[in-house]
Symmetry: C3
Subunit: 394 residues, 3 copies
């Protein structure tokens, strides 16, 4: 087997830093692929590093400065991501997480994929854990945790001529004295000319004691995949609304409105069906059914699926979030009470792998629809008309 080629862009410990770089398909040794790295300047994006990858039809941009999130992408000219009310990508130096009662994270939120976590994610709230003196210590956890606003200390690009794949690798530490010590090691991979992008994450407990961990993959889609009449395809065992607002439309949980001024978000919590190999899938299908995005993931790794409907007017951010997670994005204490917070042994790793696939044309869309119908296996979903205690509020 031929050894993969490798370019280290950042290694803070070794003082390796490449300011900007272009790798053409010849240098990569993978046809139709290119990788480009540079720093953005001006406005809120000043100082943000961006790595742009294309494999021919599929392009996307990884943000080492923002916890290796995926800013946005496109496939055959179809836009992946959404138009957020903030012009990003936003450098963490402009994000004050504590602001607006712990909602400061929203000031930087505009990605296609943003990870929420790693010590905590979900709604802000008080949480009691033990301090370094072993005494109960109440902290205020801000929305969706810290990982999206931490920079990678290690960034590498790999290209493998044999498998015709290009990968972007990044390591991000969420660690400090008397704080949790978790490392994200992510690998984002595409094959030449593929319509798929694979995210493989390892989350390592750096400490010598067990560590709690939460992660949620906040995938966000706007037009052209989201439109009036778009539908969520999902193999649903059970779905429940988060609150009374979500309950208003729970019967049409899978349906999306067009941009609607004054729309208030609706969040639904799902238990998805999965076969014995745990591989499940969801998709967002446009109204006409000629395009879709599908997410495939392992339910044993990411057992909780959340749907965020935010079909507000375009200036407010017309978007839906498809969010596989280790738990639901409720305040951490609620998830802990329901035994949904992961605990990683010292030095051990928690793996999360998923694939984003872009489907173009009715034939491809019909195939993924059949695949998900197959996962459903003819069983009727249990649709709770009201919030249930299992998920959050009663």
């Amino acid at each position: 087997m031929a050894k993969a080629k490798s370019w280290v862009f950042t290694d803070a410990r070794k003082n390796v830093w490449i300011d900007s770089k272009f790798l053409g398909h010849e240098e990569l040794g993978v046809s139709d692929c290119t990788v480009s790295k540079r720093a953005l300047r001006g406005g809120l994006q000043d100082g943000v590093d961006i790595i742009e990858v294309t494999n021919g039809p599929l392009s996307f941009a990884v943000l080492p400065t923002r916890g290796m999130g995926i800013w946005r992408g496109s496939y055959q000219g179809l836009s992946l991501g959404w138009d957020a009310p903030v012009r990003g990508p936003v450098h963490p130096k402009f994000v004050r997480l504590e602001e607006r009662k712990g909602l400061g994270w929203l000031q930087g939120f505009d990605e296609l994929l943003v990870r929420c976590g790693l010590d905590s994610m979900g709604a802000p709230g008080e949480d009691t854990s033990l301090d370094n003196n072993g005494n109960p210590f109440t902290v205020f956890l801000t929305l969706h945790g810290r990982i999206a606003n931490l920079p990678a200390h290690y960034v590498e690009v790999q290209a493998d001529a044999e498998s015709k794949t290009v990968s972007v690798i990044g390591h991000v530490d969420e660690s400090a004295l008397f704080c949790p010590g978790l490392r994200l090691q992510t690998t984002v991979t595409v094959a030449a000319n593929s319509n798929r992008l694979r995210v493989a994450d390892e989350i390592v407990n750096l400490k010598s004691t067990p560590s709690e961990m939460q992660v949620l993959y906040h995938w966000n889609f706007g037009p052209p995949f989201l439109d009036a009449g778009a539908r969520l395809l999902a193999p649903v065992i059970e779905v429940a609304p988060r609150d009374r607002r979500a309950a208003e439309s729970i019967k049409e949980y899978d349906a999306y409105l067009g941009p609607t001024s004054g729309y208030v978000e609706q969040v639904n919590f799902y238990d998805l069906a999965a076969p014995p190999d745990h591989q499940t899938a969801v998709a967002l299908k446009s109204a006409v059914g000629d395009k879709a995005v599908a997410l495939r993931f392992d339910k044993s790794q990411l057992p909780c699926f959340t749907q965020w409907k935010n079909t507000a007017a375009l200036p407010e951010g017309y978007v839906t979030g498809l969010e596989p997670g280790t738990s639901y994005p409720n305040p951490k204490r609620h998830e802990r009470e329901r035994d949904r917070v992961v605990k990683i042994p010292p030095g051990k790793t928690y793996r999360c792998e998923m694939t984003l696939e872009v489907l173009s044309g009715k034939e491809q869309v019909a195939a993924v629809e059949a695949e998900i119908r197959n996962l459903q296996a003819g069983k009727s979903p249990a649709v709770h008309a009201q919030p249930i205690a299992k998920y959050f509020r009663v």
Copy 2:
């Protein structure tokens, strides 16, 4: 009409960025004017972009990194601005707005002109608005809001040979998901050899629903315009002290002390006279009366005028603030109760225009004094000895 020349320095969306630039009068096509752009390095100013403009006698520096504030200026060698206890200009990355119970804004405060706003300004305090679920949501608003610590995503210089003017244009967004969405579009203009600088702001509601807006133009002057015996010239219908401290000197509301160790700030609220065209004016006249700065603005745009007397010792910051605003700088909830918070319809714009004029020589000063006396039109000002509920505290 000849088309104005234009140079785009920053356009974050289009990845336009000019690191440094000098435009001489020949390139500008405007005699005696130059424009120079660069990034400051070291200390708290590290990474701050600065655009220095001169028109011959009048020079000033605009700060795209700090919400297009005007750092300082000079006219025929007379200094415009003040010596703040912090060495600025301060990059927003060093400003933690939430610190000291919401007074962190002070860590970056040293400008000649700093805008306070745009969602809120004034003293810190709790404020209840509706959250994205339509429920009452109480946020803690920090001192003077966010706009001064947000960078411009668009910066342009224009030069017009016909009118012999040079303008610096900047766009700054204060916007995020589930947050207000307001855009400042400012144009700062000088004509060659003029003693005037014009600020024309458009504040746009980017959202599809009505948006509250507050803005206050915090113009700050120290020596040589402020000195022992300097006077505020203003066409006063009514003036009231903010609190008991201000009430101590309300009879001499227009008089200034020299640098006074231990001096505690005094703030007075004004209702100014204005003719049917709304154009009013205030000025700060030095003791001898041979120099002054005058602000002219439209009372229908900026109905509330606040005077900040802070004649502390020089190391503490010897300064007065002349502050036209859409409201007074009280906590937002108080201003809302008194119906002084602007509401901008979706997609609409609120305009604020003002002129700073520097007057040199007793003749010029006497002319502005007569102009303001004329606005007063012989009516006696109502001077409230104590705070009144109309403005704030009783």
Copy 3:
């Protein structure tokens, strides 16, 4: 006397900035010494300026971006400093001091020497002082204050061929309107081939009124000086545990464990013996006794000595802090009540000088042990079994 050579690296007021610089021994005019200045890139260290100095056997790195702290050093290959759970040095733009109930400072804590102060230091807590209106004003003081997360606005290197010394000088302001106004002027000096590093600080009250000031020199050592069986050498008049946890091991206050998973920090407060010239000393001696680090300082300047035992597992940060200070690192209000907060008159300076010496070989170690025994002068230390009110908790 020959004039010392000087290189100004940063002078923000005069817009002096040197991006990177190497000064060899010939240029310095001091044999075996070099100075190197550059900016770190990538990860949390992105944008941090670092000045590396070597005098032959002794090397260390000063961080202008982090309040002139000393990141780490080495002597004849022995590492000075510790392996913190955060990969630093950390740029202040990534440090949110208010987070985790005022413990955000920990996100940037990984230095050999970090100064805590200058308006406040110690544990977070509410503190009531007078506001700019002269009214009582309660602020929340975050852990260890602001100075370590403020950048130097002035940085200079001096070399003196006569005394064969190289110095790094830095000025850092902790100042803003209505806030304390304190300036740190530090000079870190080494002589060629010496095993000593000298820190001479001047802290200036920039204001026209008296100013409170607190400073603690948080010197942190891990292996090879800290190991199982390492001992603190100190001339102890009195030692008391901070709390019940520290009381558990107070009888072995001078003894250190090896890396211990689950270890909870122990903090002891000391009153040290000092001769009439006030020069006292402490040292950390490795178990075998073939290496040690000694700190010498003036007890009249730094009357309070704190020992921080944190012999946790290596990933948690195996470290001890030897911390001479103007007070103990309790919440400021407690130290004020015990009359241990310094008050600097207007314009005046408080001096703190100390020396770090690295001892290699049993002979050198025995000599410093004898020196400290001599300071003890045969008197038995008073070892309090429980916390006492004089220091903090009862």
